[in-house]
Amino acid sequence: MKMTTADVEYVARLARLELTPGEKELFAEQMGAILGYVEKIKGLNTDGIVPTSHAVPMENAFREDVIQSSIGLKKALANAPETAGSFFAVPKVIE
């Protein structure tokens, strides 16, 4: 299965990954090989089969609407690369 550099670039954009030209070529090749392999499931007859999204048949896992203490501002911001007051700071976003 052929993956072009353009395909790789599109997917990288979606995934917010920046690749070097060398990486793009390598990934195109490797992903092409892997996708070529996984293509084999296309040949599997799955008519009338329901997809599995959960490994064990469970349903209705709930919690009650009762307040549990938050971890607090200090812990919430503890790992932040950059803060401004109580905010997480990021490069300015223009909307």
């Binding site: 990954l17 690749l19 490797q30 499931i41 296309k42 997809p51 064990v56 896992a61 990021v90």
Partner: protein
């Protein structure tokens, strides 16, 4: 007996009987770690001071007469488990400086008993790998032959047990990441049924496949660890509310009349001859113990690897979107927001992680979702059905764990597809959501361990533990030690 060679149950007896203190045991382990770490590289973080503090607390508890099975036992856990206040990297640069504000439920359960934390173990980055070579903190080496991989992604967890750097460890298994390194390192490793153990506080790779499990020196220890970490957790919606049996109580019941299935798709031509020999011997051993063998078929086995690499990568691509440099983790210098995201992620993630994120993103993307992701979910149903049908006529299944013993470091790193294909025997169990255990079953001609896999029914951990224990009692593979 050397402290470092003790099992949990042996050490527990010694601690309870006041022959030895937890501080002594912990000190011995820390010395051992210092001594062999340069050769093995099992640890990312060794928590020396913390371990000794844990040990002192444990000794006080024991002095008060409170000695649970794991009180004072020095353990280590994969760096995928969040530990409050202790750096947790998941084997990745992107979390190099991450200090979690909370702990994983499974670890907390061990802490509550008074276990001692020696440190955080090395792993393939974000649990993606079968060789521990993709860790950002250097590879871990197999204690039986340091030129070889220990297996992955819980490579550090297995190597630490084999090198006697920890009495027992915790790992995670998504496609074989506990069982395969356990097999390559000659220890016991168990992946519980999905939903048996809480995933809260475990860094997610593939949410519908990940499970937490123990790696230990023998099956009895495995039963102890499993009992300690299992149980319903209201913080995990996928956690199953079903009672936890006393796994140790049924260990010695033997295997007379036990129906063991041999899936023909797992005993293919092309299996490494040493693995074939070990399997044949294991089958013979079980026959002598009174087990009965049944030939079965899991017809969709051939689609398992493809199915796994679509589902797991799709879920992973979404689970890893939170690593964006905004609230924690590595943030790169960049001018705008888009640049900040892309650079932080590209600098922080290694190439295997990037490759899987790309694959998963592709499988979910518009135009491909039905052909890849949904199709794989349907294939998964077929694979699950295979297992359920087979379990109608057998109690457990016996298979190899890996097609070959541990390969050399660097041997498969440039051929990701080859690496993926080596997970063929372990992956289907994760897809089916059921339980399986790897235990020592022999050695290759070059002295590398070979494990056998026992696959059980969903929530049938008792049966595979019992079968494993019987095998262990009848063999001596598990008593051999790496000479490191």
């Amino acid at each position: 007996m050397n402290i470092i060679d003790m099992t949990i149950h042996e050490l527990h007896t010694a601690l309870k009987g006041k022959q030895l203190s937890s501080v002594e045991a912990t000190t011995a382990m820390l010395e051992r770690i210092e001594s062999v770490e340069p050769q093995v590289g099992s640890f990312i973080t060794v928590t020396t001071e913390g371990a000794l503090a844990n040990a002192r607390d444990a000794d006080q508890r024991i002095a008060r007469g409170e000695c649970h099975l794991l009180t004072g036992i020095p353990l280590a856990i994969k760096d995928i488990f969040l530990t409050e206040g202790i750096r947790t990297t998941c084997g990745s640069r992107i979390l190099d400086n991450f200090i979690p504000p909370y702990s994983a439920t499974s670890w907390e359960k061990l802490r509550d008993q008074g276990a001692v934390l020696l440190g955080k173990l090395n792993q393939d980055e974000f649990a993606m790998g079968s060789s521990n070579e993709s860790s950002a903190y250097g590879p871990t080496r197999n204690p039986w032959d340091t030129a070889c991989i220990p297996g992955g992604s819980s490579g550090g967890s297995a190597a630490a047990v084999a090198a006697r750097e920890a009495i027992a460890t915790l790992g995670t298994d998504t496609g074989g990441s506990i069982r395969q390194p356990a097999s390559h390192c000659g220890c016991v490793g168990l992946k519980p049924t999905y939903g048996r153990v809480s995933r809260y506080g475990v860094i997610a790779y593939a949410s519908s496949l990940d499970q937490v499990g123990p790696l230990t020196r023998d099956v009895a220890d495995c039963a102890i660890m499993l009992g300690a970490i299992s149980g319903y957790d209201p913080k995990d919606s996928t956690s199953v509310d079903t009672p936890v049996p006393d796994y140790a109580a049924s260990l010695a019941k033997g295997v007379k009349g036990l129906k063991i299935g041999l899936p023909k798709e797992y005993f293919i031509a092309g299996l490494d001859p040493d693995v074939q020999v070990a399997m044949d011997a294991a089958i013979e051993t079980y026959r002598r113990l009174g087990a009965v063998f049944v030939d079965i078929s899991l017809p969709h086995t051939d689609y398992a690897v493809a199915t796994y690499y679509l589902i797991a990568t799709a879920e992973a691509s979404s689970n890893l979107a939170r690593y964006d440099g905004v609230r924690f983790g590595h943030r790169a210098e960049a001018d705008g927001l888009l640049g900040m995201y892309s650079k932080s992620r590209s600098e922080g993630f290694g190439s295997e992680v990037k490759r899987r994120i790309m694959l998963g993103t592709y499988a979910l993307s518009s135009g491909y979702y039905d052909a890849y992701y949904v199709k794989a979910q349907k294939a998964r149903t077929l694979i699950m059905n295979d297992f359920m049908a087979a379990f109608a006529s057998v109690d457990v299944m016996l298979t190899p764990v890996a097609p070959t013993p541990a390969f050399k470091i660097g041997e498969k790193i440039n051929d990701p597809l080859q690496m993926y294909l080596s997970d063929i025997f372990t992956i289907p169990v994760n897809l089916a959501g059921t339980c399986a255990m790897s235990l020592p079953a022999g050695f290759s001609n070059s002295g590398l361990p070979i494990g056998l896999q026992l696959i059980g029914k969903p929530f049938g951990e008792e049966t595979i533990l019992r079968a494993g224990h019987a095998f262990e009692q009848a063999t001596e593979w598990h008593t051999r030690k790496a000479t490191i």
